[in-house]
Symmetry: C2
Subunit: 143 residues, 2 copies
Amino acid sequence: MTDSLWPSGMKRTKQRAAVLDILEHADIPLSAMEIHARVGHGDTPVWLSTVYRILELFTEKGVVIKTTVLDGDMAYYERNRHAHHHYAVCVDCHKIVAVNNCPMAEFEPKLSDDAFRVMGHRVEMYGYCRDCDKRNNITDKDV
Amino acid sequence: MTDSLWPSGMKRTKQRAAVLDILEHADIPLSAMEIHARVGHGDTPVWLSTVYRILELFTEKGVVIKTTVLDGDMAYYERNRHAHHHYAVCVDCHKIVAVNNCPMAEFEPKLSDDAFRVMGHRVEMYGYCRDCDKRNNITDKDV
DNA sequence: ATTACTGCAAAGCATTTGCAGACTG
DNA sequence: CAGTCTGCAAATGCTTTGCAGTAAT
């Protein structure tokens, strides 16, 4: 990554560049441990706690977005591309699929406390991905 | 709670009744530790790990719904009243406010992988509640 | 009486923190 | 060179698990 693209306000270290590179090339949100694993395969090993610190910094700077899915066992991080989108999550294999439109576009929420100032939102769909749906149907038939 | 209302398929113990009672009278989702604290004030103290086991059972049986909000630091549980609703969460004090309508009602998601079978969804709004909004405005003026 | 449930203690797992040495600007 | 960042280890906090005694059906 060239210097001109480096987010301002933070030192450019090998570790940060490596983590950002992973996120830059990922098309789905990744957990800290997945990022750590992928970085490990490169030529710049990065300690897991450092990955967490970098992700925290990136989140603060708005470079990445931190999310959780399902029961929220762990956090996922994705490059902030300033594109508004949501995800569908497979409840079976936990695969994440992108949703390209947004139900909130023309929505006027009816809040119990109407003094609440809504700043943002998050939508998550859950169900079965192609593979798990297929596998489950076959299993059902076999039983 | 009378026996006729007790969810079938599980023994009726003091501990379970106490936890269900808390959830029955709560109008917002509670964390395991909040439930534990509230139970502690009653005449049936329940060990925290037992609260977790009870909540796990209740979730399995569909008696309660397990959720996470914001970054998903911890899980929240609410009585499953089979009413479809969502929540708005204050990003400052984490207070939870109910939303009484649903943006997904007439929504057709455009999925990247159209073989995905959507079974359910979750919508979360975030922003500032009345109190935090007010407090922040005052603070801004003072600076 | 049999089986399931709870108290209690200890482990588990993702994440955070403290510190000294290493690196960036 | 000064200040920040990283490797490493140890701690933290929510949650889960193992086991033996207790309670429900």
